[in-house]
């Protein structure tokens, strides 16, 4: 698994500035450093990956996904080989992949669950019917970098790795019972050159074990 070309975002720069203040030693600057550090660490966008890679569990070979290669955005889907909620959304996600890939989106799955055996996961995704790659993220590096919480958890990332949308696929544990389709709506708006109406929504499903 590779996470490369990490860039410092504005919060990281401000953190660097704050840390340099520590040398002055004043109480106010120390307080600022602590506050700045807290704010910087609290941001899940502390460092955006611009590229992810690893073993593709669907095809069994190594794959790298550069976010710059997608014309509009890259859709990163955190999936599980044993979560019923994740399984219930696979057909929906495959349909969305078929519908939106031609419009300029790139779909990639990530399997980050430390409590799920790689061999079982490989067998599961090989037979899942998914046509996009599912990267094995054994040490949860990709999940930690993006702040993935549950499966299925979706991140729509721009070419610099910035988060355009993140959260659940829809508003139900069971995909065919949903009446709000957050991911589909977000992709449709991005395809029209607009921003998603909600940048972040609740994610339902099974917690990713780290």
């Amino acid at each position: 698994m590779i996470i490369s070309k990490i860039r410092m975002n504005r919060q990281f720069k401000s953190l660097s500035n704050l840390l340099s203040l520590r040398e002055t030693g004043s109480l106010s600057s120390k307080v600022s450093v602590i506050l700045g550090l807290s704010l910087a660490l609290s941001s899940k966008g502390f460092c955006f990956p611009k590229q992810i890679g690893g073993m593709d569990l669907v095809r069994g070979h190594s794959v790298q996904v550069d976010f710059k290669q997608a014309r509009l955005a890259t859709v990163v889907l955190f999936l599980s080989s044993r979560c019923p909620c994740s399984a219930s959304h696979q057909i929906t996600l495959e349909k969305l992949s078929k519908e939106f890939t031609p419009q300029g989106f790139r779909f990639v799955g990530v399997h980050s669950n430390a409590d799920e055996e790689e061999g079982i996961a490989k067998e599961y995704f090989k037979n899942s019917g998914l046509t996009f790659p599912v990267i094995q993220d054994r040490k949860c590096g990709i999940a930690d970098a993006l702040g993935a919480f549950k499966t299925p958890h979706v991140f729509v990332l721009g070419s610099d790795g910035e988060v355009l949308f993140q959260g659940g696929v829809d508003n139900s544990h069971i995909s065919n019972q949903a009446n709000k389709h957050y991911l589909k709506d977000a992709l449709a708006l991005i395809a029209e050159g607009k921003k998603p109406s909600q940048k972040e929504v609740r994610v339902l499903g099974c917690e990713i074990r780290r």
């Binding site: 660490l41 609290s42 899940k44 019923p84 409590d115 999940a143 930690d144 993006l146 702040g147 993935a148 919480f149 958890h153 993140q166 959260g167 508003n171 139900s172 544990h173 972040e200 929504v201 609740r202 994610v203 339902l204 917690e207 990713i208 074990r209 780290r210």
Partner: protein, 321 residues
């Protein structure tokens, strides 16, 4: 009484195992603290509705005065309670939830040669909870947080309305009470911790009897619940430990008929501390069972109160979003 105590202790050890269910099953052990306290029934998972049916068996084992020294009393006397409680919570919007709690309690008191028993509806509680810190992405430190408020209705019988010699028909505090508080939860792999601070205000009411008209002013109370738990092997069992000290202002009694609303009694501050162990088991993704043991004799502050030991059992069912 001693044999019942031993039974509770053994059951407590055997039951070693609930909570998330600090919220799902709160044992109402303290007859002393009837002015409503602690967190209401809140959904902390991704559910749209949750129901819980609970049974709590309580046994008063000591009386404590303002000197803080417990009097464990005579073995000829006993005071036990058996409470059934139905709790319900439902989503009102993505982050707002409403709840209802309906208790029914049976008290049995035996004093010297007199035995008495009564059953009645307790104080019904309506609540609202708002998820102020939702967990929409992973954080190694940020907790999930709720703000809650609750209104307790005096649907149970209060002391002054008791018609029984040993007051076994007293199932409520007799006051409208308003609670505000917060709940913070954090999980790390198999561990979890929670913090529940709350304050409540019980509204004054007028009491009329043959002696005249009195005003009862119970005032403020509050508690802070803290606890932690472990789910061995990230499995379906959770074992937890919790502590919840609580304090209540004394009930001030005044006489509005006399000039300046003359104060007849300031009342005494009441305190007790629940220490409990809990075990909960997820039977399925939507059903769970809980067992809890609560003891008020272990930690302070305790003053002007009865102290109880109690065992709680509950069953919860959830409807996922």
């Amino acid at each position: 009484v001693k044999s019942v105590d031993k039974l509770f202790f053994l059951l407590g050890l055997l039951g070693a195992g609930i909570v998330i269910s600090f919220f799902e099953q709160r044992v109402e052990a303290a007859a002393c603290c009837g002015k409503s306290s602690a967190a209401p029934f809140l959904m902390v998972g991704d559910d749209q509705m949750q129901l819980s049916f609970g049974l709590a068996l309580g046994n008063v084992v000591a009386l404590i005065a303002d000197d803080g020294v417990p009097n464990f009393g005579s073995s000829k006397n006993s005071e036990t309670s058996q409470s059934y409680k139905l709790d319900m919570a439902t989503l009102l919007s993505d982050r707002l939830q409403g709840g209802l709690s309906v208790p029914v309690t049976t008290y049995k008191v035996s004093k010297e040669s007199v035995k008495e028993s009564s059953t009645g509806l307790g104080d019904v509680r309506l609540s609202l909870g708002y998820e102020i810190l939702p967990s929409w992405s992973y954080s190694s430190w940020k907790p999930q947080g709720f703000l809650f408020t609750a209104l307790t209705l005096p649907t149970g019988r209060a002391y002054d309305g008791s018609q029984r010699m040993l007051a076994t028909d007293v199932t409520g505090a007799g006051y409208f009470s308003w609670t505000v508080g917060a709940l913070f939860l954090k999980k790390w792999t198999v561990w979890d911790v929670f913090l529940v601070p709350e304050v409540h205000y019980s509204f004054a009411r007028t009491l009329e009897d043959l002696g005249g008209t009195y005003q009862l002013n119970p005032g403020l109370g509050g508690s802070v619940g803290v606890g932690f738990g472990i789910s061995p092997g990230s499995g379906n069992l959770r074992l937890g430990l919790r502590v919840q000290p609580r304090l209540e202002q004394g009930v001030q009694v005044s006489s509005p008929a006399r000039s300046g609303n003359y104060i007849l009694s300031q009342g005494a501050t009441v305190g007790a501390c629940d220490t409990g162990i809990d075990a909960s088991y997820m039977i399925s993704s939507v059903d769970s069972m809980s067992v809890s043991y609560t003891d008020q004799t272990l930690l302070g502050p305790a003053m002007n109160s009865t102290l109880s030991r109690s065992l709680g059992l509950s069953y919860q069912h959830r409807w996922e979003r």
